[in-house]
Amino acid sequence: MVINAPSLSRSGLSDWIIQRFSAVILAAYTVFMLATLITTPEMDYDSWRNFFGKVPVRLFSLISLVALCGHAWVGMWTVGTDYLTGRQLGNRGPLVRRVYQAFCVLLIAVYLLWGVQIFWGS
């Protein structure tokens, strides 16, 4: 049983909202991307490049990237508090979960900054 497991956000409710809200954005972005790839199979470099150059696509991608980071964090945090606890790992459980969470935060930050650099830079 997890006594207190702060998840960097204000409350469980805000986590719940973050996850649902980001899920809707990501679902829309996934459908949008799949539809684009299916309907325009033969894209050469120029059309691929100016597709991602268009401001709306770039904004949608960046917003989805941020949503993905929120979605991933809440998801991974939930996994951690479900499985990496004292019940499974004894008294070292919470420590292992902390390390796991720190690793998740680091990885998500890397993806966020890397993604921004791709969409912002090009």
Partner: protein, 85 residues
């Protein structure tokens, strides 16, 4: 995935390299696995959101929801295979 995207946007050579890479068996397999995982997560997620709206919360509803989710996922995964290979 981010690496492939970055490479494909960087330069014409990068774009061609990505096309080359995507033609190889292992990369296609990995892409198909990632896409299948995403499709399942998407479909199950939509079911989850529907349940948040109060649909399919009875035992029968949950069972049907799970069956529909698995069926749709099977179809999507096969289509994804067709799209990639």
């Amino acid at each position: 995935m981010l690496y492939l995207l970055q490479l494909s946007l960087e330069s014409r050579a990068g774009f061609d390299r990505v096309i080359e890479l995507m033609a190889t068996g292992p990369i296609k397999l990995i892409l198909w696995l990632i896409l299948s995982g995403l499709l399942y997560h998407l479909i199950a997620g939509v079911k989850h959101l529907l349940m948040d709206w109060g649909m399919g919360e009875s035992r029968e509803g949950a069972l049907r929801g799970a069956q529909v989710t698995l069926l749709l996922t099977a179809i999507a995964v096969v289509l994804a295979w067709g799209m990639i290979w």
